[in-house]
């Protein structure tokens, strides 16, 4: 435990001092992108990792928050009012989303979330009166919380970092909480959970709301980062990207989605600097990860590390070392 505490401390120091040693606006912007996509991936991970429900429509929720915020700002709303409005819209939208998609689990859930994601995309694309269609909506300015303007990339980075750390804390508390445990229970043994008196549907519904809220927070950061939102943000490819973040890093872990977000964002920026075919690379990585490393990078590495540790321990204690349980994928 202490080793991971030290690692977390180092990571925190690195993140907090990042703009000091990482010179160049481009790199700071990439770091901001990683942080808010990590919030998004952590949000989806609540469903994919802890509830065992794979959503292919989460870009719709992310985009819903972005559009709500952008349209409110276009209507000359105050920044804080727009943000509260966007979160409220996302929560209501997620409630409808959950109500429909939780009719099913497993593959059925994937299909319904995919269809709902496409509806939201279709609305963003076609409802020109509200969303300006393919031309998108621009946001006039970034907010200035406590009088600090977020116009500069460094300040925006720090604001994103604060939100990111709060989200990580929320995700960690959630995972440790009785609610997190009951959600994992509904994933592994829904019938036993029902027999134990849990309302399985309700547990999943709350999990959806939590996941949607985090996606919405990420969506608001996204729209303030780009100062622009277009239907492309809600496309199926965007939902697939965030799924890739969760499963490439390792679903069901705290670190996995963050590592996955960093991986995908960096790869996207690097790859698109050299070739235009990002979707081809995305698809290929998707296929490769699902076939070769289905558990994700973080659990995969942890498993190898533990195997190595157990192997050395076995050598030292002549077979008396306790077997370390394999992490559940």
């Amino acid at each position: 435990m202490s080793a991971s505490r030290i690692a977390a401390g180092i990571a925190l120091i690195v993140l907090a001092t990042l703009p000091l040693w990482l010179t160049g606006v481009y790199y700071i912007n990439v770091a901001s992108q990683i942080l808010f996509y990590a919030v998004f991936a952590l949000g989806l991970n609540v469903l994919v990792g802890h509830a065992g429900l794979v959503s292919l429509g989460h870009a719709g929720l992310f985009g819903l928050a972005s559009y709500a915020c952008a349209i409110a700002l276009q209507g000359h709303w105050d920044h804080s009012a727009a943000i509260v409005f966007a979160l409220a819209v996302t929560l209501v939208g997620t409630a409808v989303f959950a109500f429909l998609s939780l009719r099913a689990t497993g593959i059925g859930f994937i299909m319904i979330t995919l269809a709902i994601g496409q509806i939201l995309w279709g609305l963003a694309y076609r409802w020109i009166g509200l969303t300006n269609g393919d031309n998108g909506v621009s946001v006039p300015s970034r907010p200035s919380p406590f009088g600090i303007s977020l116009v500069s990339p460094t300040n925006f980075y720090y604001a994103t970092l604060v939100v990111f750390l709060l989200s990580v804390a929320a995700a960690a508390i959630f995972a440790q909480s009785p609610f997190g445990a009951s959600l994992r229970g509904t994933r592994d043994q829904p019938r036993r959970m029902t027999a134990l008196g849990y309302h399985v549907w309700m547990v999943r519904f709350y999990a959806c709301l939590f996941s949607g809220l985090m996606s919405g927070v990420a969506g608001i950061l996204f729209v303030y980062y780009n100062l622009f939102i277009s239907p492309q943000t809600l496309a199926l490819a965007a939902s697939a990207e965030v799924i890739l973040m969760v499963i490439s890093g390792g679903s069901g872990t705290l670190l996995g989605p963050i590592v996955g977000a960093a991986l995908v964002v960096i790869m996207k920026n690097v790859v698109s600097a050299y070739i235009v075919r990002w979707n081809l690379v995305l698809g290929a990585i998707f296929v490769a990860i699902v076939i070769l490393m289905p558990e994700g990078l973080v659990p995969g590495t942890v498993r190898l590390w533990r195997k190595y540790r157990t192997a050395t321990a076995v050598r030292d204690d002549a077979g008396l070392a306790p077997k370390v349980a394999e992490p559940k994928t």
Binding site: L56, L100, I116, I119, G122, N279, L282, F286, V290, I291
Partner: protein, 286 residues
Amino acid sequence: MNFWLLMAYSVSLGGLLFLLSSGFSLIFGLMRIPNLTHGSLFMLGAYIGATFIVWNRTNFWFAAILSAIIVAGIGAVIERFLLRFLAGKELAQVLVTLGISFMVSDLCLMIWTGDPISVNNPPGLDGATQILGFPFPTYRMAVILIAVVIAAGLWLLLDRTRLGAMIRAGVDDPQMARVVGIPVPWLFTIVFALGAGLAGFAGTVGSPILSVYNGLDQEMLPLALVVVILGGTGSLLGSLVGSFVVGVLYIFGQAKLPELAYFVLFLPMVLILALRPQGLFGRPTQ
């Protein structure tokens, strides 16, 4: 546009959707996965057909059959060499089909560029035919006829042949089917190839109506999905009814409420999910 003309457009789109979604539904019924490459296979069929027709001046129907065969082959390869690796892991299979769909879309962009290709109606089917005093576009009538013929053919295949009986057994209870000696893994390949071939055929047949462009895959996949959610998985009658419902909603939605067409399209899906989650003609699972 008058009501009957819109109706003719709806029914012909429904016929096209049936060609697309019957394969999707069969694959779903047998393999228990939504094949997210289905839209890509449709687009691929459209591009291959257009290449033959526009650039090589091949006969339209010959090109449609050729592209059906090529796309069926691609489907068989995807099933045997990628999905087979992940037998039993349904989630992984879905994600792999999603990954492939992105690759296909980008490859199409590379090969055929982003410019849309328009395909003319096949010779002899241009113009309009007078039915009951109304002029109806002849080619769309032909599409309806093709859909009816293929629906009848599929019904005969599934209901009257040994292969069809094995497929039905696999849809109903894959474990028992295996136990009584039905080669279910082979059925997977056959059904996947059949579904892919139908999608490829539909792509070429649909190209004079929809024209061929990158993004067709993303447009058609949700339609097939809605058809199957409406009609129920693995049910031929379900995809037939679902296709025509979706065709009517899509065409009328676009004509009357263009901004909310997508919403109108998904409304019945929402109702069905709330009232009858297994679909109109599906059976409850387990």
